[in-house]
């Protein structure tokens, strides 16, 4: 074989190689007859691939001359590219782009007729045919993407502006999903995870309810400029009255999140956009069809860093237009941006709320501080005036007292009698002023409060139990007054009872029994402390509550006196008695409020 021959191509091998290719390709010989063709070409022509070899390829292309200048005239220099049409078996014209290149081929049959024809006869042509529709479609898609980018940009700027309330943002999202310059879905529904985090709940929806409405809205909007704000406001106005139907639908849309196979929940958790065709079977889809009316629809999750916040459901229920890949792609892009805007808005509101709280707290603190300062000043003033008033009292007593003495000593006809009496009167007035002032300044005594007596008795006895630690005294509490309550100063009553208990304990230093018993009596409640000690001498009985009387070697002798005074101040009575079978009883009775019977 010569060097030139080594460059020859065995086109039978090539033919076998690209027969199965999906790319439309063919090889023709110098006569324009098909030597080899691919499946892809066969598909374009609508013919079986085996039927192609031997055919004249110029029959398929229009205009045929265009091809003739290349392969048929043997002048093909390769790299030629032509825009032609291809006529398929149905007679349809398919726009194609044809690229060709020529080469020398080894004769199919060695030593055959081709051998004698020389190099020109061995010239073959390779055609690559491209379906121009595919190319056009790709260009369209690219163009569509480019066209939407400014809008998406505007949307993102607008949504991030933080001047919109959450409701406005939701509205804007839906407008963009449906508006002519936006994603062009007919209807859009927005569902958010509710506050409890347990379900997806329909929030808001946009879309016409029938074809007439749709026609009117879309006509209204046809010539609007693509500026988002104008779009939002104009769209808002033209759909204001048409949303009733879709909003009635969206209010019914509720999906518990625990239903995790449900299409909406799943789309949200997997962060994937979904297209639901009329024949798809999936949990929850039938429910959605029930709400939406059965046509195809798209679902896009709204997800933020911390997790899913909701979904957008969109469909073309009015126009019936198919939901394309591009629509889906845009819906997802848009949903991502919307989710970010929703989060942004929520964070912003949260911040705003905290700011308001902080401001309020700050204001409150300032006020409190001022009040405190004022009170402090008042309190200092009060103390000062109390001291001054007191200091004035003694001199006034002397002045007024002697003026009265003088008045008495002087004869009424004496003019000095009148003057002395004036001094006495004026001093009396000053004393009155001071009295009122001190009365005002003096802090109020602790007020009596409604007290459940038994609670007080039990509490006091239990506290006293600690005192009995290590002693041989047994303490029993028999509280029998239930919930009966009376007006008293609990601390003082406690003091009385403690005193009685202490006496009972001291009366039986070597052990014994102490019982605290409360019982309702006529008009009041009685509390007794019974001990098992030696009791007291009958002669001492009357003096037990007198001041400074004490049978004990130590002690001020004021204890029981004070007890008696406290009980008396409460309108009650105290008493003591020896028990018939040994020991003593100390008791007091406190009156019940009259209206309580």
């Amino acid at each position: 074989m010569s060097g030139a021959e080594s460059q020859l191509v065995r086109h039978d091998i090539v033919a076998a190689g690209f027969r199965g290719s999906r790319e439309p390709m063919l090889i023709v010989d110098a006569d324009g007859r098909v030597v080899a063709a691919s499946e892809g070409l066969a598909a374009l022509l609508g013919l079986p691939v085996d039927a192609l070899p031997g055919e004249i390829c110029a029959d398929w292309f229009l205009p045929a001359e265009a091809l003739g200048g290349c392969a048929l005239l043997g002048g093909c220099q390769g790299g030629l590219q032509r825009q032609l049409h291809l006529r398929n078996v149905h007679g349809d014209l398919v726009p194609v782009e044809v690229t060709c290149s020529s080469f020398q081929a080894e004769p199919l049959m060695p030593g055959g007729e081709g051998e004698a024809d020389g190099p020109d006869a061995r010239r073959h042509c390779y055609f690559h045919v491209q379906d121009a529709r595919v190319r056009q479609h790709e260009d369209q898609v690219r163009a569509a993407r480019l066209a939407k980018l400014p809008l998406l940009n505007q949307v993102s700027e607008a949504l991030y502006g933080a001047h919109l309330t959450l409701d406005q943002i939701l509205q804007a999202i839906l407008i963009c999903v449906t508006a002519g310059q936006g994603l062009r879905f007919n209807r859009a529904f927005l569902l958010l995870v509710d506050e409890s985090g347990t379900r997806l709940r329909g929030e808001v929806a946009i879309g016409p309810s029938n074809a007439e409405e749709a026609a009117r809205i879309w006509h209204d909007l046809a010539d609007r400029p693509a500026d988002l704000f104008e779009m939002m406001t104009s769209y808002d106005q033209s759909i204001k009255n048409t949303n009733a139907a879709v909003n009635a639908i969206v209010r019914r849309m509720t999906v518990p999140l625990e239903h995790d196979e449900h299409l909406l929940v799943r789309a949200m958790h997997e962060r994937r956009v979904a297209r639901v065709t009329s024949d798809l079977q999936w949990p929850g889809v039938d429910e959605l069809r029930g709400w939406l009316g059965g046509g195809p629809f798209a679902v896009a999750p709204l997800t933020i860093r911390s997790g899913p916040v909701g979904v957008i459901v969109a469909d073309n229920a009015i126009s019936g237009q198919e939901i394309g890949d591009l629509d889906l792609e845009f819906l997802q892009m848009f949903a991502n941006q919307s989710a970010a805007a929703i989060e942004n808005s929520r964070l912003y509101r949260e911040l705003e709320k905290r700011l308001v709280d902080l401001r309020r707290a700050h204001h409150q603190q300032k006020e409190d501080q001022q009040t405190l300062l004022r009170m402090e000043r008042l309190s200092v003033m009060g103390e000062t005036s109390a001291i001054v008033a007191h200091e004035l009292r003694n001199p006034l007593v002397a002045i007024g007292g002697f003026a009265r003495t003088l008045t008495r000593n002087l004869d009424e006809s004496d003019p000095n009698h009148r003057f002395a009496s004036i001094i006495a009167d004026e001093v009396a007035r000053m004393e009155e002023i001071i009295h009122d002032l001190l009365d005002f300044i003096r802090p109020r005594k602790m007020l009596r409060q409604e007290t459940v007596l038994d609670a007080l008795v039990v509490e006091t006895a239990e506290r006293f139990r600690a005192e009995l630690e290590g002693s041989a005294i047994r303490l029993d509490v028999e509280a029998g007054c239930g919930e009966a309550a009376l007006e008293c100063h609990p601390g003082e009553i406690q003091q009385v009872l403690q005193n009685f208990l202490m006496n009972a304990m001291q009366a039986q230093a070597f052990g014994g029994q102490v019982t605290v018993r409360s019982t309702p009596v006529d008009g009041g409640l009685k509390v007794e402390v019974l001990d098992s000690g030696p009791g007291f001498a009958e002669a001492d009985g009357k003096r037990l509550f007198s001041p400074f009387f004490s049978t004990k070697p130590t002690g001020s002798g004021l204890g029981l006196t004070i007890c008696a005074q406290i009980i008396k101040a409460h309108g009650g009575v105290t008493g003591a008695a020896n028990r018939p079978d040994g020991g003593a009883t100390f008791w007091f009775i406190l009156p019940l409020p009259r209206d309580a019977g």
Partner: protein
């Protein structure tokens, strides 16, 4: 004639009470502080003590306890400018509590009532 001991650290008030009590027919003696008052309780055996509370040195409340410790049959009238002592239970052992006033009528009446009561009880 009943003897009344006046314990007060204000000389002018002592003079006023002395004047008025004498006019009312009592024999009076005065002490300018609590310690002196206690001494007079022992030595002079008064029938009644008019006792100021706020005094330099020992105050009237302590004096009251000491008087009652020595002799709890002597009636004591607390006579003070401070009505707030009424709330102090240590003053409850006194027979009466009178708020100082340029009008000594209340003091005189209180003294009279107590002494008349004692007299009636004794007879």
């Amino acid at each position: 004639m009943a003897k009344v001991l006046i314990v007060d650290d204000e000389p002018h008030l002592r003079l006023l009470y002395e004047t008025e009590l004498r006019r009312a027919g009592y024999e009076t003696m005065t002490a300018s502080n609590a310690a002196q008052g206690l001494e007079f309780v022992d030595t002079m055996r008064p029938d009644l003590v008019v006792l100021d509370i706020r005094m330099a040195g020992m105050d009237g409340i302590e004096a009251l306890q000491r008087i009652l410790e020595r002799n709890n049959s002597i009636p004591v009238v607390l006579n003070t400018a401070f009505s707030s002592y009424r709330d102090n239970y240590l003053t409850w052992a006194a027979d009466a509590y009178v708020t100082k006033s340029s009008d000594v009528t209340e003091l005189l009446e209180t003294v009279k009532n107590i002494l008349d009561g004692r007299l009636a009880a004794r007879s």
